[in-house]
């Protein structure tokens, strides 16, 4: 439920400018999917919002305040290494809960952990398993369960399902969407993805970033009740037109980048 505002946001890793001029406004409860080709700065933008990289206080604000450092108000789901491998999967969630809710008893933390494990389709017996002993899908469910259990108003998901098989990915997409949708006060979600279809399925707002140093080159907002559904989206002409537009825009960016590289003799 946090508002995120980026105005002419730029960012460079040492001398390499990654974000050129990014402006966007996420309202509380929005599900923003960031699309774009590899290396365009989607993950960098997410890291700036998370506070893992320093940003100009005038260019990026979360909840009306500049982002100074990482916070438990911004739960992050990484593609890999979401869990600490030396503690059990359940203990990973417990550690986060202990940090967020220091007054909670051990029993309440365990109860909450099991509740969110259940919400994400994880059996109770997996609580004591090490991440090493879990499948990729189960690990990502735990990481997502931890993010939801923290009850952070802003969730940042960096290609969380990128390495999963199609079936597990679809199940997790549906679960995340249901959990986000059923809350009275929806969380604001930033979701980085390479997949146009994933963005169409999840987003309330799609933001496409251009080539690095990037800027926002396309946005689309779905009105409430008009978001594509998995079973009908491929037969809906409007959604298909939007899908083609998104593919065309991304392809044009790739072509123009390749042309620029050729002209520069790279």
């Amino acid at each position: 439920m946090l508002e995120v505002k980026a105005e002419h946001l730029s960012f460079a890793y040492e001398k390499e400018l990654v974000l050129g001029d990014v402006s966007l406004h996420a309202k509380p409860g929005d599900f923003i999917c960031l699309l774009g080709q590899s290396g365009c700065g989607k993950s960098t933008l997410l890291r700036l919002i998370a506070g893992l990289e320093k940003s100009d206080p005038n260019q990026l604000q979360v909840g009306g305040k500049p982002v100074e450092k990482p916070s438990l108000d911004r739960a992050m789901v990484f593609q890999d290494y979401g869990l600490f491998p030396w503690m059990s999967a359940g203990a990973n969630i417990d550690l986060a809960l202990k940090q967020k809710f220091p007054d909670w008893s051990k029993e309440k933390r365990k109860e909450t952990t099991l509740l969110w494990m259940n919400n994400l389709g994880l059996e109770e017996s997996l609580y004591d398993k090490l991440p090493l002993d879990l499948s990729g899908g189960q690990r990502q469910r735990f990481a997502t369960a931890r993010a939801f259990a923290l009850d952070a108003p802003l969730m940042l998901m960096d290609e969380p399902f990128g390495a999963l098989d199609a079936v597990t990915k679809a199940l997790l997409q549906d679960t995340v969407l249901q959990l986000w949708d059923k809350e009275e006060q929806r969380k604001t979600v930033f979701f980085v993805t390479h997949s146009v279809d994933e963005a169409l399925l999840l987003a309330t707002d799609i933001v496409v970033l251009g080539q690095s140093p990037s800027r926002v080159i396309y946005t689309h907002h779905f009105e409430e009740g008009h978001r594509p559904q998995r079973d009908t989206m491929f037969s809906d002409p409007e959604v298909m037109e939007l899908r083609n537009t998104l593919f065309r825009i991304i392809d044009q960016e790739i072509q123009s980048k390749a042309k620029a590289a050729r002209e520069a003799g790279v």
Binding site: A50, A75, F78, G82, F84, W86, L95, P131, L132
Partner: protein
């Protein structure tokens, strides 16, 4: 018992092979000098008379070894973690760590005897120093090379410094730190032998040195076998501890 034998069949077979080889070279074919290499039966028959002396030596040696090694682990890991985490400290201290760790510790024996009031303290210092540099060096490297994503994960959870240290940094660095601790333990055994060569009145290495001076090579051999048994036991216990700490890694 049957399962245990099956599990350690390779180790037991090699051990038996070595014993048979020694018996063939000594008792059967008399290839080796029986003065320097007494028969195994002769060595074993000495155990009842000398076990008291050997155990007294064991207690004395373990006193030196455990004190020095534990101190080296505490100092090496804590200082190494601090230096590994602080780029500024690392930059300024690394040349000195490299320079000091290159000095062979046995060469410092005269200085240790001169500086410390007792031979025992001098011995503890030398064993400590031998283990300390290795643990310090590997800990600095281990902490410095922790996967950034673990630290970022900890940052997003706003873990306080102490929790971050004990629940993230040390576990993440533990595989490499434990390699250093293992090498340091071997070095400690060597330094223990050096330390007991001067000023000691008991100890496992002292036992060997003492009877070597009297050319009692049957007792020297007994000392060797006893030291070997103790070292194997300590290394096995260390490996068990290591496997317990690293239960989360692929190799365990």
């Amino acid at each position: 018992m049957k399962n245990l034998c099956k599990k350690y069949l390779g180790i037991i077979s090699i051990g038996l092979g070595l014993v048979i080889f020694y018996v063939l070279l000594t008792d059967v074919f008399n290839v080796l000098s029986d003065f320097l290499f007494p028969s195994l039966g002769q060595v074993i028959s000495l155990i009842p008379d000398y076990i008291g002396q050997l155990l007294e030596g064991l207690v004395s040696s373990l006193g030196l070894l455990v004190t020095s090694y534990v101190l080296a682990v505490l100092c090496g890991v804590s200082l190494g973690t601090l230096v590994g985490l602080k780029a500024g400290l690392r930059k300024n201290l690394n040349p000195y760590i490299t320079a000091f760790s290159a000095i062979p510790v046995p060469l410092l024996t005269p200085y240790a005897i001169n500086i410390f009031p007792t031979f025992r303290l001098a011995s503890i210092f030398l064993i400590w120093l031998g283990a300390f540099w290795v643990i310090l060096g590997t800990t600095v490297g281990a902490v410095q090379s922790i996967d950034k994503r673990y630290l970022e994960n900890a940052a997003t959870l706003e873990l306080p410094p102490v929790t971050r240290l004990f629940r993230v940094i040390l576990p993440a660095a533990s595989p490499t730190i434990l390699v250093g601790c293992s090498v340091a333990l071997n070095l400690s055994f060597m330094m223990l032998a050096v330390a007991e060569m001067f000023g000691a009145s008991s100890g496992m290495a002292f036992f060997i040195q003492y009877y070597s001076d009297f050319a009692r090579f049957d007792l020297v051999m007994l000392g060797f076998l006893f030291v070997a048994a103790v070292l194997v036991t300590i290394m096995c216990l260390f490996d068990l501890l290591k496997a317990r700490i690293l239960h989360w890694t692929l190799n365990n």
